[in-house]
Symmetry: C2
Subunit: 330 residues, 2 copies
Amino acid sequence: MTLQRAAAFAPSNIALTKYWGKRDETLNLPLAPSLSVTLAELGSLTVVQPEPELVEDVMILDGQPLDAAGMIKVRRVLDAVRQMAGSQVFAGLQSVNTVASARGLASSASAFAALALSASTAYGLDLDDAALSRLARTGSGSAARSVSGGYVLWQTGERADGYDSYAQTFRDAKHWPLRILVAQVLDGRKKVSSTLGMKQNRDSPLFAPWIELCHRDVRACQQAIDARDMTQLAAVVEGNALAMHATMMSSRPALLYWQPATLAVIHEVRRLRSEGVECCFTIDAGSSVVVLVAEQDARPVAESLGEIHGIEAVLQTRIGQGARLVEAHG
Amino acid sequence: MTLQRAAAFAPSNIALTKYWGKRDETLNLPLAPSLSVTLAELGSLTVVQPEPELVEDVMILDGQPLDAAGMIKVRRVLDAVRQMAGSQVFAGLQSVNTVASARGLASSASAFAALALSASTAYGLDLDDAALSRLARTGSGSAARSVSGGYVLWQTGERADGYDSYAQTFRDAKHWPLRILVAQVLDGRKKVSSTLGMKQNRDSPLFAPWIELCHRDVRACQQAIDARDMTQLAAVVEGNALAMHATMMSSRPALLYWQPATLAVIHEVRRLRSEGVECCFTIDAGSSVVVLVAEQDARPVAESLGEIHGIEAVLQTRIGQGARLVEAHG
């Protein structure tokens, strides 16, 4: 097969119902399905260049060599690609995140979706979205959802090898063009990673009912999206995020990702909605808050959130397309 | 029997493991046992004067006639007393709270414990602590724990009539003379009452595991108190409070009692403990935070909490005795 330099961009995604609980730690297979929206602009750009003279894979992330823990995951994806391509050539990789993880959005989802597309292209493969999603998932679970655009469903799957656990668009961005606001809360504490957090959380007595809840919430969330019903969407999206954080804070020791400003945004969004503004919030394993809002209300809501004590900035974006090639030379 | 004017003071109590879930709404029978400490100074003073010429019970609370909902509960206690005493005489009542509920401590626990003691004395009864606790419980569940002093256990009981569901001291205040700080957080929102909150919360998928957890936590908390072990106490007291709020926030619509300053205190107490300060927090169905702290660390912790943005004041008190008569004339 032809080896070539390839570059791909993949966007971040925001989970509307969460991925929090693995049935397989290595393959990143989830215990429950999850739903997300793919963002328009914010994400990762990754360039892969297979180089016959390299003796191992080398990756530069945001100008720095990638750490060992990250490199293990990257190699897992590259090894899978090389196996499919029948190649033993190592690669040089460069990746840039257009959103820093400190800004309230995780970078691993977009990073591994961009890697899946760029690496598979560089090694001469032409994978469909389902195959790319499976591949991205082996690097980081939520990356499965950053391959496709719009409203995305990641199905749990049942197989032990993960072949049926991948994400696909079920409604495109135009179906309901909500605006996305990211209310950034700075947190000086050392963050507990999602992988560690999920592990620590398994012992919580609330964990099993949380997983059951996710199965129900995905169905209710799909219905809300189909009907473009913000009241129903808010009930399930906020309820699911609160239940995840409830599950986190009930583990011992407690996983407390929230900061005071996190709660201030929660109360403000609830207050705004009680006044008729079409918006709802969600929170990942961190302290920043993401707000989904109807187009016409985006500006006043952003201004209102920006005035909250402890909010560093409010990013604005839209729902967009999935991972795409930005360059491919033979 | 002789009717007489009687006055009693009863203190507030702070639950170390919470009462959040009823198996009987009228008798206030809990689904799980709970543990508390009785406060030294803060509480309610209630005077009961049986008056043959009254055509119904009349009560003045903090200078105002008691509202209808409160009067129903007061009458429930008075009717039980009159039945035991074989009397049909109504009473005039006056009650003063030395701590307003807006200051972060519920007043119903101390109010109904004071009522149980003053009313039973006024109608000529001489009830032991178990009987007073049962009587107070019919007014407000947590009042069962304000009759006795020190470290108090309220056992669930099994009987449908509640005869075996009452609270008793299991360690006195001298056993471990911790200081109690109340970090007051003002909350302009209309508060959801505990009774309503518990009802709304029953549908949460996390509710059943929460109740199971309480049974385990009570045992672990007793062990921590017996051993005067702050590390173990913190794990169970904070874990129990966080699990209760987790259960609350996972109900739909969510019960969110916390304010930004609530979280700020949580983080500060965890930080202080990580630096070797012997303290832990708990939070009732409200936004204020109660901190238990070793005597020698009380002052610096109070100062540190007082500096937090959104904390109105920090009350300081000790663990003290239970309900007591302050006056009784034939």
